[in-house]
């Protein structure tokens, strides 16, 4: 298939996944902000949200106060914030539009309708809405596109590149979320004691649809150590780093070409580090350091995929 086609499909999926994860993260903070007796600096959560998406500086330039409403508006709808949900869904739709002929009509209609519905959404109208319901809507639209893709698209290379986008973005987002939240929630590095902490860790798990899973896997109180383990190493947990790498390695095996050997090898090495890794090893290096290294690897992997398959600049 054409490299450009693969590129558009890949980014369509990435942007949709990014919108979903952004909303998941906002949802957590929003819920937490409604908890009684939020301790200490109420701004910390909102600052963390901007940190995760590397938007702190961009936000500071807008001159807005660090209020929940302003941050939510900025992250959801700001036209100048290229990572806003609004811009992600626009970019997803533009990528879909560019390869309309390669999509099933269900796929096209799903992305197009999502965009047409959010396009007119203004901050003023957002105020009158049930935010929780809106977050659900974005998640639902993302589920729908993913489902429609799996359910209607011919499972050829084009399909694989769309999946590749999804899992690369998801691995990146989960790692960022864990990195920022872990340190925001546990300044002292101790176990969870009080009720507020319990809710905070609970919401983090909920944001990746892992609360029930946690209970089921550990049958234990929530400990930060186990939360990190679930989100990093458990390959049955769909949003975990391990699960994402399972998919990425599988896809790279299927689409391999004459120049992608090194990319396959790098992905395999990263996968192995999760597959054979232990939390003790990870904490020995430092969780933050490990996640930072993981993010750098994912980033490089994205670049390699671009060079090998999507935007080969130089001729062979």
């Amino acid at each position: 298939m054409l490299s450009r086609t693969a590129d558009h499909l890949y980014w369509m999926a990435r942007y949709t996944e990014r919108a979903e994860n952004t909303v998941r993260m906002l949802d957590v903070s929003y819920r937490m902000s409604m908890l009684p007796g939020v301790n200490g600096d109420g701004h910390a959560d909102w600052r963390a949200i901007l940190d995760i998406s590397e938007l702190t500086d961009a936000y500071a330039r807008t001159g807005r106060p660090l209020s929940p409403r302003d941050v939510i508006e900025f992250v959801l709808l700001d036209r100048d914030n290229l990572s806003s949900v609004w811009n992600c869904l626009r970019a997803a739709r533009e990528n879909a539009h560019a390869v309309r002929g390669k999509l099933t009509s269900e796929m096209w209609e799903t992305t197009n309708t999502t965009w047409l519905e959010i396009r007119e959404l203004t901050p003023a109208r957002l105020q009158d809405m049930d935010l929780g319901a809106f977050f659900e809507w974005v998640k639902f639209r993302s589920h729908l596109l993913r489902g429609v893709t799996v359910g209607t698209m011919f499972h050829d290379d084009a399909f694989q590149f769309a999946r590749l986008g999804t899992f690369l973005e998801r691995a990146d987002n989960t790692a960022r979320l864990l990195d920022v939240k872990y340190h925001a929630l546990m300044p002292a590095g101790e176990d969870v004691h009080n009720a507020t902490d319990y809710y905070r860790w609970g919401s983090l798990l909920r944001s990746v649809s892992a609360f029930e899973t946690y209970r089921q896997v550990y049958r234990d109180v929530i400990t930060p150590h186990k939360v990190a383990e679930l989100l990093m190493l458990n390959d049955a947990m769909p949003r975990s780093l391990h699960a994402c790498l399972d998919e990425i390695v599988d896809i790279l095996g299927q689409v391999a070409n004459s120049r992608s050997c090194e990319t396959t090898r790098k992905a395999g090495a990263l996968h192995a580090s999760l597959h054979y890794g232990s939390m003790d090893d990870i904490f020995a290096v430092g969780l933050h350091e490990s996640l930072e290294k993981f993010l750098a690897c994912i980033n490089k992997l994205g670049d390699r995929i671009s060079n090998d398959f999507l935007m080969p600049v130089a001729t062979p």
Partner: protein
Amino acid sequence: MSEATRTGAKPYDEMHSADGAVRPHYQPYERWLHEMPRELIERKRSEADIAFHRVGITFNVYGAEGGKERLIPFDLLPRIIPGSEWRELERGLAQRVRALNAFLADIYHGQEILRAGRIPADQILDNAQFRPEMKGVKVPGGLYSMIAGIDLVRAAGADGKGEFFVLEDNLRVPSGVSYMLENRKMMMRLFPDLFSRYHVQPVDHYPDLLLETLRAVAPAGVVDPTVVVMTPGAHNSAYFEHSFLAQQMGVELVEGQDMFVQDDVLYMRTTQGPRRVDVIYRRIDDDFLDPLAFRADSMLGVPGLMRAYQAGHVTLANAVGTGVADDKSIYPYVPEMVRFYLGEEPILNNVPTWMLREQDDLAYVLDRLPELVVKEVHGAGGYGMLVGPASTKAEIEDFRQRILAAPEKYIAQPTLSLSTCPTFVEAGIAPRHIDLRPFVLSGGKQIRMVPGGLTRVALKEGSLVVNSSQGGGTKDTWVVD
């Protein structure tokens, strides 16, 4: 000039003869229409609207920033052409396209027609569409316009018989064939019973014919050629058609950025590495094909494409430089081309045209400006045009001065009264003016076309402008036996 083109003649009605009787080929349709309850027709109309809108949402630029593509209105009442009439048209179209291709081959090689003095050389040399880069370049089969769209109109003669005239040749990137195909699909979906009353010749094999045509003009020696459709991109107004045709032919839809040239060979970038491209059905103008050869600021083309083409390693369909043959200044000479290259008399006539560079023609036309249409030879899209009967005295005088300043820049034609076809309008059914664009495919030794073509209709009462940008619609076109 013939009676048929006389100003003010009553237009030819495709469905009814002069005495009001329904012409034989429309009679089954008329009976069917009579049996159909009005409400049902109305319902089908809205069904068609909804269905097209859905297709529109699926295929058209809908609410996109760059693209303002609108749905082109579709009329439920078909334009019906008797098989015998079509066969005559088909012969004429094939003859005309053969002559035009021979002309292009000649102009870029021996220039025999200029040496023979049949066409003044400045008509070619002083024409921005003439591409010196094409001189001496061998193209497969000597074919330049593999896909031609010839615009035909029918005007009424004194005897009540209609006569077809060629209004314009489109030899560069004729568009509209997707509407022809979609219209037929829609009609069969809405009125399957109608198709049991008529033997309507099918058109849906057009993508197959197109693919065969493109494969037939692959560079010599290529056994299983890779064909692609090249588009300027998703924001082009005809993108729907580009993507539609690529999909129907099962070939890649590429943009310039998808391809590169190495050692004068063209490749496209795929996820499995570079893949050689042999034939490009390009839907992009010459100027934008190759920034190294033409417009240096073109972001749409492929650097080096022209070299690969000149080396014979890739075929462009249509060829570079075909515009020199469909220019308004060359149009008057097409019948002469038929005589010169084929030694035949033209089957299809041109609309009589006065070339104001000729003293006699100039004098004749200046005397009759209020009756005539005057066109700028290199103008396009109705710009720089005078429609005498629709202009004020002041406008005509103003235009007279422009003609006198540079008569060689103008041609003049009688105001043609295009034939009409009954059409669904707000008030019911009423006659509206139509034209016809058949698509003529030349590949290998054969010239082929699907029966009919695209019928465009001017939906405004009395309007002669069938362009979609100015309120034109389309009809399904039936060739019936």
